[in-house]
């Protein structure tokens, strides 16, 4: 997925520039590597789901309902006889796809608004930042749930809701970075050279501040997955029978005392995704800002 691979060139350049003590690099690189490997495994499992499991995730088999783990079904089956492992992989596929797509629009919008706000300042900045304050005033889950409810359940609503709410963090981060960066000599030089604002922002400022937004995007994807799973749990996400981790947890909750695996494993899958992305985010942050941990 492109969202993960594009920090690579920046990484290589940074690593050369700041020759770090061996001890730090030895500890830090594995965190990033572990995150990337874990994410690669998860993505491979999700994308390769049809190859990894012979069972159709939505095909019911009432003769084989609520089987325990082991045997033909690795993680057992649910009350409709659907294979849990298969639903888990396909559910991951659904939720990861939505999360990775959902993060793109807020990322772009937030970065542009942050650039404009930070670079131009004045009343533009004041208006945009009040707008940020207003969106931030609402608790994340409350606004997302309310918006998806109003727009009607489903993927399209999830994308719209996450875009409407998610851009603010990127705008704040980029604005803060631009405020510092625009006072640097290289920007003053570009300005006195008569370059246009668009060119200064696009060619000179953005490459220097974008990494912060990318690092934040890692934790933002985690937050989006949690939101998607939560919406699925409340029946506001992807409509059934498409497998989704949230609706799997909701469904498994009814059999918690007898079939704990139905609730536990979908949640663990989410935790694994969160772990992978957090490791990547932390690893990137340490590589880009050496000396801070």
């Amino acid at each position: 997925m492109s969202a993960i691979s594009f920090p690579e060139p920046a990484l290589a350049a940074q690593a050369d520039e700041h020759a770090q003590p061996r001890a730090r690099r030895w500890y830090r690189q594995p965190a990033l590597a572990a995150g990337l490997i874990l994410l690669a495994i998860i993505l491979a499992a999700a994308i390769g789901a049809p190859l990894l499991t012979p069972y159709n995730p939505i095909k019911q088999n009432l003769g084989a309902s609520l089987l325990g783990p082991g045997g033909h079904h690795l993680l057992g089956t649910d009350q409709l006889g659907r294979d849990t492992f298969s639903r888990l992989l396909y559910g991951l596929r659904t939720d990861l796809r939505i999360a990775f797509i959902a993060v793109l629009a807020p990322f772009c919008i937030g970065v542009v608004i942050g650039c404009v706000s930070g670079y131009f300042g004045g009343w533009v900045d004041a208006v945009l930042m009040r707008l940020v304050d207003i969106v931030v005033a609402f608790p994340f889950y409350v606004l997302i749930i309310a918006l998806v409810f109003v727009l009607g359940p489903g993927q399209r609503s999830i994308y719209i809701a996450i875009t409407l709410v998610g851009w603010v963090s990127y705008a704040r981060i980029i604005r803060g970075e631009i405020l510092v960066a625009k006072r640097q000599d290289y920007v003053l030089a570009a300005r006195s050279g008569g370059l246009s604002a668009v060119r200064i922002i696009g060619r000179h400022l953005l490459p220097n501040v974008i990494t912060q937004a990318i690092i934040y995007a890692m934790s933002d994807i985690v937050q989006d997955i949690l939101a998607i799973v939560t919406l699925g749990y409340f029946g506001l996400g992807v409509p059934p029978p498409t497998p989704d981790l949230g609706s799997m947890i909701n469904n498994g909750q009814n059999f918690l005392t007898t079939h704990w695996q139905l609730t536990t494993f979908p949640g663990l899958a989410v935790v694994a995704v969160g772990l992978a992305l957090s490791l990547i985010g932390d690893g990137l942050a340490d590589l880009i800002r050496p000396g801070q941990s």
């Binding site: 969106v135 994340f140 918006l147």
Partner: protein, 314 residues
């Protein structure tokens, strides 16, 4: 800038945000695809009822005049009529507010009780095994869906061990304390990773400060040094982080109240969503927005009052 000017300035800044919050909530109705009145009433939609809603919300008037109507009702404390429960949405929300406030405060206290010892364990021996273990907590914790943690806690501590009730609010102070422990713990677990990170970082900062070296060289004993010199100074940034995440904390209660059947406004919101009770969902969203704005204001003001180093020249 003096202290009073700061307070006045902060209150003044509140006005555009408060108006913005009402505009967002007002516009929610216009995000509904098709005719909002028809969609909201769903299968109960008779032409008469649709006409009533149109008149109530002024749907056939220009937007500005609709917003004016909305604000006029709002300042009179009227959030509209609940379509499912019948009565006034405002009254309904007001009745359900105490359990939510209880949960928020309880969860914040538990989050601090979890985070301070863990951050201390980590920061006092940087890069040691115990530091590494504590630093792994946020990595795992941030990816845990709060409702899933709640379900597992119910299974482990309520159904399996019978240590806590499965759901409910309890009666009396001790009853609330007992019944709300698991829900508050769930919210605290969701919040703790962020606080642990911030607290550990600020403790490391303080531990490296010159006044700590001075205190050490004066022979201040370890415990005293830690409590009086390190913790006091390190807690301030952590409280700020808690303040910034108050929205997340308050939002988390929505889901947790539903899981644990706590009769607060979060559960009211989810139930109203299931009943397609639009005025109540709109009202709860507004109340949550106002709650966060007020808590942020309180945090800013108390922070300014408590920390003598806070300057007022913003």
């Amino acid at each position: 800038m003096g202290r009073m000017t700061f307070v006045a300035h902060r209150l003044l800044m509140l006005i555009p945000v408060a108006i913005g919050v009402t505009i967002v909530v007002f516009f929610m109705i216009h995000l509904i695809p098709g005719d909002p009145a028809r969609t909201i009433l769903g299968i109960h939609a008779t032409p008469q009822r649709i006409a009533i809603l149109h008149r109530q919300w002024g749907l056939n008037r220009p937007l500005v005049s609709q917003y004016w109507l909305f604000m006029d009702r709002l300042v009179h404390g009227n959030l509209g009529q609940s379509l499912y429960y019948g009565g006034s949405a405002g009254q309904l929300i007001l009745q359900r507010l105490p359990p939510t406030l209880w949960l928020i405060v309880y969860a914040a206290v538990l989050a601090v009780l979890i985070s301070v010892p863990l951050a201390t364990i980590a920061a006092t021996r940087k890069d040691a095994l115990r530091d590494q273990i504590v630093r792994a907590v946020p990595l795992l914790g941030l990816g845990m869906p709060p409702f899933w943690v709640g379900i597992l806690l119910v299974y482990a501590l309520a159904i399996h061990v019978h240590a806590f009730p499965v759901s409910g609010y309890g009666t009396g102070f001790l009853g609330h304390l007992h019944y709300m422990f698991l829900p508050a713990l769930t919210v605290a677990i969701a919040l703790a990773p962020v606080v642990i990170r911030a607290l550990r970082a600020s403790m490391l900062n303080v531990l490296g400060a010159e006044y700590i070296t001075t205190a050490r060289s004066k022979g201040v004993p370890g415990t005293r040094l830690f409590l009086r010199h390190v913790l006091r100074n390190a807690v301030i940034p952590a409280v700020t982080v808690l303040g910034i995440n108050i929205g997340y904390l308050i939002g988390g209660t929505v889901i947790i109240e539903y899981i644990f059947a706590i009769p607060g406004i979060g559960q009211l919101m989810i139930n109203s969503i299931f009943q397609r009770d639009f005025p109540v969902v709109q009202g709860v969203t507004l109340v949550f927005g106002v709650l966060v704005v007020l808590v942020n204001l309180l945090a800013d003001l108390s922070y300014a009052a408590l920390d003598p180093r806070v300057r007022f020249d913003r």
